[in-house]
């Protein structure tokens, strides 16, 4: 059952940049603050089209964030984007107090996020921001899965009132959603039906989740439900509860640390409503390093293989056939068998 076809590759940052430039035509109140990396985060598209509403403040992410707040408190919809390493952490205090506590109409673009920023190395590979951002009251947090969804998500957060953060990446990644694929903030998309295991993923890992689901079907006849949890906050509680009640085990997958991100968010929901075995795929509490994106996602276990192996473990745990002592060996042997 193949529900989503790959239609080439394009970076999610393109979706962000194009959406802003297009929105500028219809939203005269939209302003964008740049912090020197505009050509990378592609706010340059907006700058070229609407130079009178683009303001560079230099490499000063703290000030960029609060300048955006000042604009927002003066009636603008203010966007600021830099690499997630700097637009979610360098300005963490500004995000907490001035953006979120103020409920300012500020939209933050977290560009070049995750391990797939690649050769720049660990300093620039932000893998922790979901944990921090998820804890901030009033913030809407989205992590789109492909170019088109990034474009829709950018428009959605700019059109809603209040603070929002959108996380996206640098490399070209598979495009597989369609123009008519719905995007509603806070409402997860079920990309594939199935009741044996639910794979809940966000960002880059959604495509990997689809690949894993196909392999599970092909090799084991397992029907995996694949859920694109594009909105991390507010999270779609119903979709998680349904998945846990109907599939009775869950795998989460994200290009982020295993602590505090999507996996944590899903576990919080199930622990309260419908406890089931959960396997969390992500960075295993470690920093990354330089390399090509495809090398890094292999090394750190952020591909369909890890999801596939984790699904088998999750199903064993659900069925009571899982032996803890065998876990490490099994995952390794599942890998070898691929």
């Amino acid at each position: 059952m193949k529900t989503y076809e790959k239609k080439g590759d394009k970076a999610t940052r393109n979706g962000f940049g194009e959406a802003l430039a297009e929105l500028g035509d219809v939203m005269p109140e939209l302003v964008v603050i740049g912090a020197d990396v505009t050509g990378s985060v592609l706010t340059s598209f907006f700058q070229e089209k609407h130079p009178d509403r683009f303001f560079s403040v230099g490499v000063a992410e703290q000030n960029a964030t609060t300048v955006a707040v000042g604009m927002a408190l003066s009636g603008k919809v203010a966007v600021f984007s830099s690499y997630s390493a700097f637009s979610a952490f360098r300005n963490a205090d500004q995000l907490r107090v001035s953006v979120c506590y103020n409920e300012a109409n500020v939209k933050i673009g977290g560009a070049h996020s995750g391990i797939t920023v690649g050769p720049d190395g660990a300093t620039h590979q932000s893998l922790e921001e979901l944990a921090f951002l998820r804890a901030l009251p009033n913030l809407t947090l989205v992590s789109p899965c492909d170019y088109l969804e990034a474009k829709k998500a950018t428009k959605a957060i700019c059109e809603m009132a209040g603070p929002a953060f959108i996380r996206f990446g640098r490399p070209a990644v598979p495009m597989f959603t369609n123009d008519d694929t719905p995007f509603i903030l806070g409402k997860a998309n079920i990309l594939r039906e199935g009741n044996d295991v639910a794979i809940i993923a966000c960002g880059l890992l959604v495509w990997q989740a689809l690949l894993a689901a196909e392999k599970l079907q092909e090799v084991h006849g397992i029907n995996a439900r694949v859920i694109n949890m594009h909105t991390i906050k507010p999270i779609d509680v119903q979709a998680i509860v349904d998945a846990s009640l109907e599939c009775k085990c869950i795998v989460t997958a994200e290009e982020h640390q295993v602590h505090g991100g999507l996996g944590g968010a899903v576990a919080e929901v199930t622990a309260k409503n419908s406890p089931v075995p959960i396997e969390i795929v992500g960075m295993k509490d470690t920093f990354g390093g330089s390399g090509e994106p495809f090398e890094l996602i292999e090394k750190y276990g952020l591909t369909w293989k890890e999801i596939y192996a984790s699904a088998l473990v999750a199903i064993e745990r659900k069925n009571g056939t899982f032996n803890k002592i065998r876990q490490v060996k099994d995952i390794a042997s599942y890998h070898e068998g691929l």
């Binding site: 403040v57 609060t66 604009m71 603008k76 506590y101």
Partner: protein, 293 residues
């Protein structure tokens, strides 16, 4: 001696005044500060007392355009108290301007009050433009507001912000200064409450921020150094700012106001130990006695 704390419901108009009138207003504000801090049992005394003269001219001298009956009036000027811990003076000013009853000053820092320990936008106290208290953020927000007015809306609204001097140790202040200078924000007036006091001691000893005039000039500001308790000086300098703005001089203004922490109360005068403490009952009685002279 017994002390009954009451806040007389008295409102001051925003208009040109004689220096003596401003001094009377400033002392009313100081009394409000002492009373509300005594009732709160915690909070910052020294800083708010030290900027009472500046605040009385700014809010009641016809400089800041605002409408207490329409706090969100779109043509208002903006005032941002970046040094959010000085909230008691802001609350006193807003009450005396008519934004809310003076009696509400009795709720400072109390459970359920709109007068939060540091200003919060969420509690919707009329006249508050932003939450502030994490130092340096307020002035950067003020710069964003000034940019919005001058560069996007292209109107003539003015933005004023007060920072402390210890606050200037926060790097974001200088990021904001760089931006204000680069964009030539002549609608922006940055007032530094230069009392040379911060929690740990003298600013020059904790971590010097001096020389201030040269620093702000280097960042593209027109700088005025004044006695922050001399009403004539304050009036003359604010007049210069508004004139420069009217002439579109293309530079932001920085007023370095030399002040004394705890000004107006003898035992608090120029004593950094009064940065973060409220008066007790006996001290409040003495302070109010001095301030009513």
């Amino acid at each position: 001696m017994d002390l009954k704390i009451e806040f007389e419901e008295k409102i001051f108009e925003n208009k040109r005044r004689s220096p003596d009138e401003f001094k009377i207003i400033a002392n009313t504000l100081r009394q409000d500060i002492i009373k509300s801090l005594l009732l709160a049992g915690s909070g910052h005394s020294g800083g708010p007392l030290g900027i009472a003269d500046l605040m009385s001219v700014l809010y009641f001298g016809g400089y800041l355009n605002y409408n207490p009956h329409e706090p969100d009036w779109k043509d208002r000027d903006r005032f941002i108290l970046s040094a959010g811990h000085m909230a008691p003076i802001l609350y006193a000013v807003l009450a005396r301007a008519g934004y809310f009853p003076a009696s509400e000053l009795a709720t400072l820092r109390k459970f359920g009050s709109r007068l939060q320990g540091h200003p919060g936008l969420d509690v919707k106290l009329p006249g508050i433009e932003t939450s502030s208290g994490s130092l340096g953020q307020g002035v950067s927000i003020a710069v964003g507001m000034a940019m919005s007015h001058k560069l996007v809306d292209k109107d003539s609204k003015e933005v004023y912000s007060i920072t402390g001097d210890g606050e200037l140790q926060e790097g974001i202040c200088w990021e904001a200064a760089m931006t204000a200078g680069t964009y030539g924000l002549d609608n922006f007036c940055w007032i530094v409450d230069n009392n040379d006091c911060q929690i740990d001691g003298r600013v020059k000893n904790v971590m010097s921020v001096y020389p201030l005039k040269e620093k702000f000039e280097a960042f593209g500001f027109t700088v005025f150094e004044i006695d922050g308790h001399n009403i004539v000086d304050i009036i003359a300098t604010l007049d210069k700012f508004t004139r420069f703005h009217a002439l579109r001089k293309g530079k932001p203004v920085c007023i370095i106001a030399k002040t004394f922490m705890g000004n107006g109360v003898s035992f608090m005068h120029d004593n950094y130990k009064w940065h973060g403490n409220p008066p007790n009952k006996e001290q409040a009685i003495k302070a109010l006695e001095e301030l009513s002279k």
